[in-house]
Amino acid sequence: MSAAITAANEPLLSRRTFLRVSATAAGGLLVSLYLDLPVAAQEASQAPPKPQIYPPDAFVNIRVDGKVVIQVNRLEFGQGVHTALPMLLADELDADWSQVIAELAPAADVYKDPLFGLQLVGGSGSIAHSFQQYRELGAKTRAMLVAAAAEQWQVAPHQCRTEASVVHGPSGQLARYAELAEMAARQPAPAAAQLKEPSQFRLVGKEVRRLDSRPKCDGSLKFGLDLDLPGMKIAVVAHPPVFGARVKSFEDKAARSVEGMREVFEIPLAQGTGVAIVADTFWPAKQARDRLKIDWDVSAVEGADSATLWAQYKELARTPGNVAVARGDAQALAAIASGNRVVAEYQFPYLAHSPMEPLNTTVRFDGDRAEVWAGSQFQTVDQAAIAEVLGLQPAQVTFHTEMAGGGFGRRATPDAHVQREAAAIAKRLRGTPVKLMWTREDDVQGGYYRPMHVHRIEIGIGPDGMPSAWRHVIVGQSILGGTPFAAIGVKNGVDATAVEGVADTHYNIPNLHVSVHHPTPNVPVLWWRSVGHTHTAFVMETLIDELAARAKMDPIAYRRQLLDPKATKLRAALDLMEEKSAAWRSQLSAHHAVGIACHESFETGVACAVDVSIENKRPRIHRATVAVDCGLAVNPLTVESQFQAGVAFGVSQLMAKGAITLKDGRVEQRNFDAYTPPYMIDAPVAVDVHIVPSTEPPSGCGEPPVPVIAPAVVNALAKLTGTRYRSLPLVAM
């Protein structure tokens, strides 16, 4: 068993680093560095920092066999942090990369995002927020290993150098990190980290292949849904047909006749109630659910209806809402002749995230504690919710982070509704682990969608062909309203996530008025990869393109002229895209057209050119050239992958069956036959990605690929068809 010794004999509450050494069960030694997180978290939460006592092997564990095990403080679900965060730490540590093992950390205070103060993946902040943190962890650990070697050799630390998990002394001495680990643990923790200059990086900035590739290619990697525990049962839940409805009564005779079915019982949901079915395996659970006869009470809940909502939203869009921006002269628009005005109305439907791995969570409740396994994007919130349902404190809930099959925002819900379901079932099955599984139908019909929106814009064009007055009304549900995040994200009735991409546009529009209405239909909504930019970028980039065409200007030149000189990242991306796409844009095949878009989100500038034709009445994207300024690209290979694939994700918005619609409160789509993500034929055939060279701090790459592709394609379609498509999805062409 392990006995932890605190090496630094100081109280655990001050802001310093700590190192511990402990004997492991396997006979090895753990060296653990504990680092208090930066003050950014305090500033963000405005609350005093909580004292933290960090668990053993918090971030890095140098094992006797030479393996360097690095804890990843957030979920891996495709975005590549499971490789990039260890790269940062290992580079500063000068660890042997071939010996690095990455693990997803469980829920714990020490793993909270340094900026958000919660353990989560969000806002494309994984690398941006943990860049300094992981580098400092590596540098401080390295310093202690060097100090240990120097002490042993009776030399000064600065006479030593490190490479590939070995300290080299001035007279040719060598010591492997694994040998030094125990002595290193007794060294005082350095007050400050000596970080490398970018020119000294061995891993950062290089193309490094993912650490999780092989097990994802041979079937051996276990996702949350693959978890198997002794005695584990499988649960599915019959959810209400209308959001928030309650079970009036249910008849389970037929369900109980299914062999392997164990229990049927009503459970509370985050909204309304449902009926849980527990079985030995999935198939009997699903068969039993199909045979349940449930009488639902829908009388107390509103039945949202897409057709009605569109009419209401369009009406609302004709009136100004809560003001997000009022810049310049409010009368400027009225002063412009009607011939120089453009009026446009846009529609965006609800969208489901539909990650490939359906939602799931496994919980075992043991009375005074619980254990959870979940591919959670939101560990802090999910752990607390489970604790609340089970009548425990969060510390009594051991929360394992499982690899997840995509998420795109769906695995981070402020109400932790999936975890609450799982906990309610586990509570009843005390002592038995139970895996709650959502079917694809549960997912498509289960709400938490990207909200539907209507935009109405009136533009007055100046004599130079540039927009001089711009009135923009957005209608859509608030994502943050009613959640704990409203305090920071909703100001003066404006949800920042509804207007981002318009209110903070980098186009220099002298007279700009942006306002928003937030209706509250009975449909749960959520952030969907790139959040507000999913619709705002589409509106801005298609309108700017239209204005460029109207001014008979090149769409790239027009954008450059209109962009704020201070928008350096966006301008750099635009320039690079122009250069890299110039050759193919000048020799397009017949019946092909180029579409351009650029947009900044999450502090990353992105520009995109696409080569589009029409095949079988659908857009065919032959090629996309994407340029990106994301500051320092920690792993350029991951950045390339994120942008290649992220633009394909963005095509979701254009799919003919790319909408969730409701009739009388009931979702009309059930599965991928009716709500269809892009298949290979729908995605760009090839995407070449170009990264603006930079040594600025890194910014996000998970969400910024998404906003640009749909407007770029639609801008190309406008050239091919003469039609400016303003309603998504592209149902008919």
């Binding site: 679900f77 495709g78 975005q79 590549g80 292949r209 993912r210 999780d212 590739s213 092989r214 994802k216 290619c217 041979d218 079937g219 051996s220 990697l221 276990k222 996702f223 849904l225 693959d226 198997d228 499988i234 062999e259 395996t281 999935f282 198939w283 009997p284 539909s354 990650p355 490939m356 791995e357 359906p358 690899m403 997840a404 099959g405 995509g406 998420g407 795109f408 694809r440 992958s641 994120q642 290649q644 694939a645 992220g646 633009v647 394909a648 994700f649 095509v651 599965n671 991928f672 036959d673 269809t676 993500p677 892009p678 298949y679 290979m680 034929i681 995605a683 055939v685 090839a686 995407v687």
Partner: protein, 154 residues
């Protein structure tokens, strides 16, 4: 309940289950082979693709009672096949995966394609891979990896 003698990855496996149980759930729940994934249950995403008698098959809609003595090959054993090994290696060297959840099915579809069409055109690739959804959108790299594997197999 009925008992079936299945030929899975060259081994005889006996399972006792309801005849309507799809092969997918026999693999995952009875045989604990979780490399084959559940994505939709209606043959619309391809995450559950296995080879039945050499043919890429959506295991989520084939009842176990229909398998008979036909050989079933899953992602766990496809690397033992020369084409399967080359495809898996190409996937790794091209850094194809992101979340990775769909990739078992993608690889099984790609191996089936290359076994019958060693030198596939873009159109062949689009047809054979046409039913496999990758929600992350790794399609451009899947395409590159298939072409690289085809070249390797020449």
């Amino acid at each position: 309940m009925a008992t079936y003698q299945l030929n899975i990855n060259g081994q005889r496996r006996e399972v006792t289950t309801d005849p309507s149980t799809p092969l997918l759930w026999v693999l995952r729940d009875d045989l604990k082979m979780t490399g084959t994934k559940y994505g939709c249950g209606v043959s619309a995403c391809g995450a559950c693709t296995v080879h039945v008698a050499g043919v890429a098959t959506r295991s989520c809609m084939v009842p176990v009672s229909m398998i008979g003595d036909r050989s079933v090959v899953t992602i766990e054993a496809i690397g033992q096949n020369p084409v399967g090994k080359v495809v898996q290696d190409a996937w790794v060297s091209h850094d194809v995966v992101q979340c990775g959840y769909c990739q078992s099915g993608q690889i099984m579809s790609a191996v089936a394609l290359l076994k019958h069409t060693p030198n596939p055109t873009d159109k062949n690739i689009e047809e054979s891979m046409g039913g496999n959804i990758c929600r992350c959108g790794t399609y451009p790299r899947i395409r590159q990896a298939i072409k690289a594997a085809a070249q390797q197999l020449q």
